[in-house]
């Protein structure tokens, strides 16, 4: 069930009405209801895969309890490793097995041998990487003693399965979501109004900006061999805008839906394209993932409090893992690697005037755009060919029709985000006079009404 579909609208309105009007003020019943509808939401994709999710929940719920009850350092480590192993094994089988199988086979072929361990023809459970990481964050927090183990299995299951963030995040932490689920649900008008604004803005980003960009990007990628340098730059820039609109739009709708149910999810994006360096970009882009890697990989490896060489190693490990988290392809691994290089480069102290210069914003955007080429490409060959035509061997011609309406929307979108960059999202206009506020809502609504595009494709991050 996609957030931008009629099905979701009907589903959510019914859930909201029952939640606040039928079972109001009965916390356990409200929790059970949310869990039930979350199961329904998940089963809308591939129903049988709910068993996999259940396995992750049972294992990590048990691990949380076992960790809390045990004082023995060795035993606690064994429990942690068991939990991480089982949870990641599921992820490995569904997401990474074929990647390793194919690469082992290629490697054997390279050395003249033969090694075929077969291919699994299973579809990837939707959002697997997201709920695996969310479940693991609970185990880590209990292990480090920052979170008490959850007694109620239903509450814990809801923490992993809570539908607004189930399939593409934000990757929640128990300190935020689990603690809110344990409080009585109270309707807060201010939070609900913010929720509605988030949904409206998220829809605008997804169906007006991202999906319209996607049409041109996909068209260019179909004719990649004949595309000129200008075409490829154009497609690359539009893909940067597409992926931001798509993923941050999804996150906004997720947060908005959740706020209408009285639960505040963590912020996932903080105007990332206004960053002045790649390092800053990563502190603003998909922050629920980058802070996950920071807290559970980077800091345990020593973080910044080690020698410069080890710090570089830590950054490389985190970014390569982060790339691999996105997908079992070399393109993602190299994407992570090159991002790491740019972050490492930022260790070099730049002159203060350069670090604050507004020119660093478009430069950072262009670097990010080139790196997204790796992310979008179907394989390394395609990525190298595109980057080669974009940066080295220029090719003439121009096969793209420039869409003036789309650019008007893109410029308005970024202008709005720039104007509100100190606020929490691009339509956070609660402080505006009511006439300006309601006029803006009306304009956004009618832009959606006239210009929305609803292709059959899903949100990009659903595949992870």
């Amino acid at each position: 069930m996609l957030f931008n579909s009629f099905n979701y609208l009907v589903f959510f309105v019914l859930v909201w009405l029952v939640f606040w009007f039928v079972i109001k003020d009965r916390q356990k019943l409200q929790q059970a209801f949310l869990l039930l509808v979350s199961c329904y939401f998940y089963m809308f994709f591939i129903p049988k895969y709910i068993v996999i999710l259940a396995l992750t929940i049972v294992v990590d719920y048990w691990a949380g309890h076992a960790l809390e009850q045990s004082q023995n350092v060795h035993k606690r480590k064994v429990i942690l490793v068991t939990s991480v192993f089982v949870t990641c094994a599921i992820l490995f089988v569904f997401k990474y097995y074929n990647f390793f199988s194919e690469n082992i086979s290629h490697l054997a072929g390279y050395f003249g041998g033969e090694c075929s361990i077969g291919i699994l023809k299973w579809a990837l459970p939707i959002g697997l990487s997201f709920h695996t990481f969310q479940s693991l964050s609970y185990v880590f927090e209990v292990y480090y003693g920052r979170q008490k183990a959850e007694r109620n299995f239903l509450t814990y299951s809801l923490y992993v399965m809570y539908f607004p963030q189930l399939v593409a995040g934000p990757i929640e932490r128990p300190g935020n979501l689990l603690n809110q689920l344990n409080q009585p649900f109270i309707f807060k008008p201010q939070m609900a109004s913010d929720g509605m604004r988030l949904i409206l803005w998220g829809l605008f980003k997804k169906v007006v900006i991202a999906d319209a960009c996607a049409k041109i990007v996909n068209f260019t990628y179909l004719g990649m061999d004949t595309a000129s340098t200008i075409d490829l730059w154009y497609a690359a820039v539009l893909f940067s805008i597409q992926i931001y609109g798509d993923f941050s739009g999804y996150s906004d709708i997720a947060r908005g839906s959740s706020q209408l149910l009285g639960i505040q999810l963590i912020t996932n994006f903080n105007f990332p394209y206004f960053s002045r360096s790649i390092s800053e970009f990563w502190s603003r882009w998909h922050t629920s993932l980058s802070t996950w890697f920071r807290d559970y990989v980077y800091i345990p490896l020593g973080g910044n409090r080690v020698t410069r060489m080890k710090q570089i190693r830590n950054v490389l490990i985190v970014f390569v893992l982060s790339g691999f988290w996105h997908g079992a392809q070399w393109t993602f691994i190299w994407w992570g690697f090159f991002n790491a290089l740019f972050v490492i480069f930022s260790f070099v102290k730049l002159p203060a005037y350069l670090g604050k210069n507004w020119l660093m914003i478009p430069i950072t955007f262009l670097i990010t755009t080139c790196l997204w080429v790796l992310f979008r490409a179907e394989n390394m060959h395609q990525a190298i060919t595109q980057l080669d035509t974009m940066l080295v061997h220029f090719k003439g011609g121009n096969g793209i029709e420039y869409n003036l309406k789309l650019w008007l929307m893109i410029i308005s979108f970024f202008a709005m985000e720039w104007l509100l960059r100190k606020r929490s999202f691009g339509l956070d206009i609660e402080h505006w006079p009511s006439a300006a506020r309601y006029s803006t809502y009306t304009i956004v609504f009618f832009v959606l009404f006239f210009m929305a595009v609803y292709p059959a494709n899903q949100f990009i991050y659903f595949q992870f």
Partner: protein, 300 residues
């Protein structure tokens, strides 16, 4: 809560009202498929892909009036179970003297196959023909689930149809583009390249689709005349199709003979009629060709 609900109801009402207003503008300009999901009384059907949709105008078929053009596109309506199900919904089973023109070409009878499992990809199953359950007027199911734009676009398209594309009430898709041989040649180059590189490379003839076509002929025969037609395309396109499926004409001829229906393959028209892109017939050519189909059907 009360004040929030009031605001919600006000904005919700504006949203619902806007959509209802847009609903009043639904017609052949809405998109190139909407009208085919309404229930129209007809005396027969023209069946096929986008070639059929653009090449046969039922109003020109004076000897066989009241036909409805039910052709969609290569991705949406190749011969197979989903399209057959749709045709059965459009079929008027109360009449026995109807006419059915089944347009065939290598693309409507071929499929892509999974490179690992070898399974045939019934691509149309999760497209509009496979997914839309009901034909009704107006068809809200289609608009909600298949219409790919904000509904305000229905109003915009009503006043300014994209690229002059109009779907007539009889199902004929008219592309109102003035014929320019030079531009048509450029478009043909791109189209042919696309078919050679992407469409043709990933597909192969499908015995299951041919079988579906055979079953469809058998299902339609009790209700009237059935004819198989290979719609003309440019000579260059035909040459590529010949390369893709060498025995296509013989197989269709044999199918026609076995099922006792005519297979009409007016190959000589490939060099006579004008095509927008080598693949789809220009509207001027469509008027001429429709009359020929009408005459040929009369000879059945």
């Amino acid at each position: 809560m009360k004040s929030f609900l009031i605001k919600l109801v006000v904005f919700g009402s504006i949203a619902v009202l806007s959509h209802i207003v847009a609903g009043y503008f639904m017609n052949g300009t809405t998109d190139s498929n909407y009208l085919r999901f309404l229930r129209y009384p007809n005396h027969g059907l023209i069946i096929g892909t986008s070639r059929a949709a653009q090449a046969i105008c039922p109003d020109d078929m004076v000897q066989h009036s009241g036909l409805f053009n039910a052709g969609f596109s290569m991705l949406t309506s190749p011969y197979g179970p989903a399209y057959t199900k749709y045709i059965l919904k459009q079929l008027d089973t109360t009449q026995r003297s109807q006419a059915f023109v089944l347009c065939v070409d290598p693309w409507s009878l071929s499929s892509a196959f999974d490179s690992i499992t070898g399974e045939e990809n019934w691509i149309e199953n999760d497209k509009m023909v496979g997914e839309t359950e009901r034909l009704m007027n107006p068809n809200w199911e289609y608009l909600i689930e298949q219409y790919s734009y904000g509904w305000g676009n229905i109003i915009l398209e009503h006043y300014r149809p994209t690229q002059g594309m109009i779907l007539h009430d009889n199902g004929w898709l008219e592309v109102q583009r003035k014929f320019d041989p030079a531009k048509a040649k450029i478009r043909q180059g791109g189209k042919l390249e696309n078919y050679k590189k992407d469409v043709g490379a990933g597909r192969r003839p499908s015995t299951a689709r041919v079988e579906s076509l055979r079953n469809l002929i058998r299902m339609l025969r009790p209700y009237g005349k059935v004819m198989l037609v290979r719609i003309p395309c440019s000579a260059e396109f035909r040459a590529f199709e010949q390369q893709f499926w060498q025995s296509f004409d013989q197989e269709m001829l044999s199918l026609g003979n076995t099922e006792k229906v005519q297979y009409w393959n007016p190959e000589e028209l490939n060099r006579v009629l004008p095509f927008n892109d080598g693949h789809h017939m220009n509207y001027v050519g469509a008027h001429q060709f429709s009359k020929m189909v009408d005459r040929s059907l009369l000879e059945q």
